[in-house]
């Protein structure tokens, strides 16, 4: 460890995730761009869609934690100190936010395309 160099961090993440890293980064970028475009087009937040997206986000957060536990080979989460709660919150938060953004953007664009088609 010793110091955290962003270049080294990227190299380590690349070794850890392989092509999945670029897939995740692409999904994050595309999802954010799709959400931004949707908000610009609709000029409002659809409350019902937001609620369902957040519900999907909770499931995404749980899935992210389950994946983490599996990859970390611990079989469980054995919280030992505050930083463990921070890590759990970060992983859950990333899963929640990512899934919610993707779900909102996807369902919004799906509805928009259906409207355009009918």
């Amino acid at each position: 460890m010793k110091e955290l160099d962003p270049f080294v961090l990227l190299a380590v993440l690349q070794e850890m995730l392989g092509p999945l890293l670029w897939l995740l980064l692409a999904a994050a970028l595309l999802g954010t761009a799709a959400l931004a475009a949707l908000l610009v087009c609709e000029r409002r937040v659809v409350a019902r869609r937001l609620m369902w997206s957040e519900a999907a986000g909770v499931a995404g957060g749980c899935l992210a934690l389950a994946l983490m536990v599996r990859v970390a080979s611990s079989g469980f989460i054995d919280v030992g100190g505050p930083v463990d709660w921070l890590l759990i919150a970060l992983v859950f938060g990333a899963g929640l936010a990512g899934t919610a953004v993707l779900a909102y953007a996807a369902s919004g664009w799906w509805a928009a395309l259906r409207r355009a088609g009918s």
């Binding site: 460890m1 955290l4 190299a11 070794e15 611990s74 030992g80």
Partner: protein, 452 residues
């Protein structure tokens, strides 16, 4: 030597006059070299130092591959030879995880060729002799390879033969385990330990009196075994004993004290001043040397860690320390802060073979190699390198399944946490376990490629 064929990597013998001309030319590239030395190998060709120097890297383990990668990235036109007979590469920090039943044997096995940087010539032969006065090494096949600079990264030798009655073939049988001997031995150790955890009984743990790689591993394995016994409901009918070779459980006093507290909490009895002399696998008796004489300890499971020493070729050469504690074990006499040999300025020693006060670990390699390479590059450029290695090393000390302490320290026994105020070094954390199981191997692989 008759029958030898001089196979200097690039023909010409080194000469002071040529060195002088080369140095004058290289002066022009000095500024660029200083900047690129610690930079990852994505450096553009224009940034690389032009040279026709012949560099030999002896050993293709973690330190050898990392050094070769960094040299190949920083130099243009150099002749770099990597000498090692072993075609398989082992991620050795993973041996403990195999021994803990967390990872399969394949987790640590890859091929040396996977990490071979472009522009490096791999000679798949073991170095049988070092001739630092003649600036050449000789392989076991009789090939003499001349060099201008030598990086010694041969690793070390496990001396199981120095324990009477012990043979690596015993690992996995008669309650004998030893994760150090390789992936198969680590797996066999897991099977032996798991069988012990199913039954309970007396577990004996120890470390050798010599310098050793990953000095946290003996402690980790005692903690892991205790945890398995507890999870399988056999702890109350078991006894665990840890035998320290001196009066401490770990070389860093503050960590030693923490481990003593954890041992007390987990009911692991600590003996001090015990060095394993012999085992009798048939009777399951271990014999220890103590200040008062020999002591026998019976066991149902024993984790044997052998004495360690530099490889024979290094021990037989002029490179080891001549006096002091490290002379007998043959570790290379290098400056602890630059890794440059004390008597041969064109020789560097990195990794396990380096005779420095602390840290025969992959983390040490990660911080030693850039410093040694920087000094070598500065020599080529005719400049001086300010790079210094402070002895930093780290040990994710597993204290139970799912938790570890991320212990980082330097030559002076200072704790040097990477994330002060966030990851407490003496706290048992899931986060540190996650780092050990998830982040360590990718970091290690990045290091081999010269990218971390």
């Amino acid at each position: 030597m008759e029958g030898d064929h001089q196979d200097g990597i690039r023909g010409e013998a080194p000469s002071p006059a040529r060195d002088g001309r080369r140095r004058a030319l290289l002066m022009l590239a000095a500024a660029a070299a200083a900047g690129t030395a610690l930079r990852p190998p994505a450096a553009r060709a224009a940034d690389r130092l032009r040279t026709r120097a012949r560099i030999v890297v002896a050993g293709a383990g973690a330190a050898g591959l990392a050094a070769a990668s960094r040299l190949a990235a920083a130099l243009d036109g150099a002749s770099i030879a990597l000498l090692d007979a072993r075609r398989e590469h082992y991620y050795q920090p993973g041996f403990t995880l195999i021994g803990a039943g967390v990872k399969p044997r394949q987790y640590v096995v890859s091929a040396t060729a996977d990490y071979l940087p472009a522009g490096v010539q791999w000679i798949p032969e073991r170095v049988a002799g070092f001739d630092p006065d003649g600036n050449r090494v000789v392989t076991e096949a009789g090939r003499a390879v001349a060099y201008d600079f030598l990086v010694v990264a041969t690793g070390m030798e496990l001396a199981y033969d120095r324990i009477e009655g012990m043979d690596p073939g015993l690992i996995g049988k008669h309650g004998v385990g030893s994760i150090y001997h390789g992936p198969e031995a680590a797996e066999a150790t897991w099977q032996a330990m798991s069988a012990f955890a199913d039954r309970g009984g007396k577990g004996v743990f120890l470390r050798p009196a010599t310098e050793m790689k990953c000095a946290g591993a003996p402690l980790k394995y005692a903690f892991i075994t205790e945890d398995y016994l507890s999870r399988r409901g056999r702890r109350s009918r078991s006894e665990l004993v840890y035998n320290a070779h001196n009066q401490a459980l770990f070389s860093v006093p503050i960590v030693s004290e923490k481990v003593r507290m954890l041992f007390e909490q987990r009911g692991i009895r600590a003996n001090y001043g015990r060095v394993l002399r012999a085992i009798d696998p048939g009777r399951r008796i271990a014999v220890f040397d103590t200040a008062e004489g020999r002591e026998e300890q019976d066991y149902d499971f024993i984790h044997v860690i052998p004495p360690m020493r530099a490889p024979q070729a290094v021990r037989d050469s002029a490179l080891p320390w001549r006096t002091g504690a490290w002379a007998g074990e043959g570790w290379l006499e290098v400056d602890p802060s630059t890794l440059r040999h004390a008597r041969y300025r064109n020789v560097f020693g990195v990794g396990d073979v380096a005779g420095v006060p602390k840290g025969k670990t992959a983390a040490s390699v990660k911080w030693q190699v850039p410093v040694a390479v920087d000094h070598l590059l500065a020599d080529l450029a005719g400049t001086a390198s300010p790079a210094r290695y402070d002895g930093y090393t780290s040990c994710p000390l597993i204290t139970r399944m799912g938790r570890a302490m991320l212990v980082e320290f330097d030559y002076r026994n200072n704790l040097v946490p990477s994330f002060p105020g966030v990851i407490a070094p003496l706290e048992e954390l899931w986060t540190s376990w996650v780092m050990e199981t998830m982040a360590l191997k990718p970091t290690y692989i990045s290091m081999l490629r010269g990218r971390a």
